[in-house]
Amino acid sequence: MAGYILRRLLQAVPVLLGTTFLIYFMVFAMPGDPLLALFGDKAPDPALLERLREQYHLDQPFIVQYFLYLGGIFHGDFGTSFSGEPVSAILVRTFPVTIRLAIMALIIEFVGGVLIGLISGLRKGKLFDASALVVSLIFISLPIFVIAFVAQFVFGIQLGWVKTTVSAGAPIQDLILPAFVLASITFAQLIRLTRASVIETEQLDFVRTAYSKGLSRRRIIPVHILRNSLIPVVTYAATDFGVLLVGATVTEGIFNVPGVGRTLYQAIVQGQGPTVVSFVTVMVLIYLVVNLVVDLLYGLLDPRIRYVK
């Protein structure tokens, strides 16, 4: 087990190096001069522009810029944004907000999705099942910004139950609505996934054996059916958690959440190389860790799965 984890972590090193290089290259190759855009419609002094370029190493060839950046990372220096704020400070500020939002969304979608999916699967073809399918279909087919705008308008403006946008510091009560919006689509997917998985498991021999042995439903459903149905569900939910952690640009924009997605979007638009690359590096790291955790979870759910060195 320990050997397996170690090997997976070592594999992460070339992946990280490769992604930072690729992303840095792409930001570098973006057309247009980010410094020129700083001045809007007004043309800056050529001499001033030159000095700014020196300051941000933008006058150096790509490979030199990249190694300057990489060298900085080893000293814990992720570079500075145009506003003079260290990128590491931006990372520390935004990731906790997004992580909080992601965990809230994950809890909502996992609890809701699995519960409804389980009941649906057990009562296949009944009214509850049919309505759950219709509702999930609606949520799957709606783009997230539609859900977000409607939720903001109804709950924030019309009813006034929640704040229309997230206030400074991103307190939990302000994040509830964005979390529900974020959860809505995956929640619908999870209903369908759990339902299908439960129906399939219910027909397997060991479940029929359990019933014929006279075990109660209260024991069969959670232990025999649910546990064995969860593998695809956990895989899906965990991947989604990875997606949530790297920021939901659209939702964060609409609710003005000071998180990763919104910050990264602005950095891309402004051509801020160090900020973009640092964010993406951290995101890749998160993906790798989440994937590892998912793989380890399989073993807990199904003891037959073994890890090979």
């Binding site: 057309p31 247009g32 700083l38 419609d41 931006i90 704040k163 946008t165 609710f255 000071p258």
Partner: protein
Amino acid sequence: MNKRRYGVGAIALIAASALALAGCASGSSTTTSGDSAAVISVNGSEPQNPLVPTNTNETGGGKILDSLFAGLVYYDATGAVQNDVADSITTDDAQTYTIKIKSGQKFSDGEDLTAKNFVDTWNYGANAANTQLNQSWFNIIEGFDEKNPVESLSGLKVVDDTTFTVTLTEPLSDFPIRLGYSAYYPLPEKAFEDMEAYGQNPIGNGPYKFASDTAWAHNEKLDLVVNDTYDGGRKAQNGGVTYKFYSSEDAAYADLLGGNLDVLDSVPASAYANFQSDLGDRAVNQPAAIFQSFTIPTNLAHFSGDEGKLRRAALSMAINRDEITDVIFEGTRTPASDFTSPVIDGWSDSLEGADVLKYNPDEAKKLWAQADAISPWSGSFQIGYNSDSSHQVWVDAVSNSIKNVLGIDASGAPYPTFAEFRTAVTGKTITTAFRTGWQADYPGLYNFLQPLYQTGASSNDGDYSSADFDAQLQKGATATDTGAANDEFSKAQDILLKDLPAIPLWYSNVTGGYGESVSNVQFGWNSQPLYYEITKS
């Protein structure tokens, strides 16, 4: 279980008492006299640079600086210049100015503000070694060098604690008007010790100051409270201003409707159609100091000489500005009648030759045919723009208007990002006409004309060059009387209307709104609400 029931009871009680209180409040107060301790919340965006006046050239940081600092002069609601820190600004020749400041001026930490603070700050901003984004604002002062570090400008002299003199490189009648711009605000002495740290927690001399050392929550908000040491004409009528930072105007607008924001200075395009009905008399929609046009560079084939003049005039008259501002912008733009803006002192809508800006399809066709007689038209007419902002709709509308009237092929030429677009424009690699806009930095006609159309000027993207225009502009710049100067600038505009280096389209309106709990909201010439006047109940 019991606990929960208590909870519900408590909520009901609170709700009931809140209702009762609300009832009392609305019953007793008929006149809305504001609560002087109430803090108003306004929209903003994260400053792109540390909050240093000489290094801030965008509105996000600019509007915070305007609250934190007081310059020699300020602009009132009509755009007129009023003395703030200055006691008097005098000159005999429009080139050497003697500036006296009021005595007893202080920064918010109690430190004295003297003439030396202004001179030190201006020297700092002008010094090439400091790489300040607003460096070019000091290039009018004698001794300025854009490339080589200059510790102190020869044109700045401290006479005594309350007096200093400024010598300009050449006469400039609108120098006193410029002095309200944020680049000229004074910095306290301690700022120069560590400018980086100062920019995170600046000490100013304006109507407001930071609420605490950590008032600036990056990307989220910035809290300002009233600065008691300020005694100029912009004394705050409220308890403070909280700038909430938004990444999208839609989010800010939702907050205004939801009652989480008191004042919004920019309504998103998606709400143009309904914001006036949403907000009623709390909606603001008036012209601003923003001029929109498209520029036809002189090196474009068919657009120079007499043929060029005919074609430019024909294009201008082929555009139905009234219809486009009405339909596309829902009335949030005002058709242009000159090259400046209605909120600027000296603006006139009856310039000689302004007819060329009126929709006149017959005359347009006639002029275009005359130009064809000189040299037949070929190819298509294109307008370049950046597609990362909402320009496509109007560019298409203008192109269609031209296409329909003149019967030529016309279309937009999109660039994916603003950075890419500006690189093509300033590098002169663009081979089409292109959108141009100008937001004034100070309310003067000269600011709309000189940077854009003077031969070789910094933002003369179309490479326009006219000896007549340059001479006329110079006449205005050297006049010592503002009225006389404006007359000369109007004559300079007459020349522009004949040459049409850029085709004026419309003035952007300031579109804003405010919540029910605030009153006395006025927007200044620069599309910013005068925050200090606002009262909140």
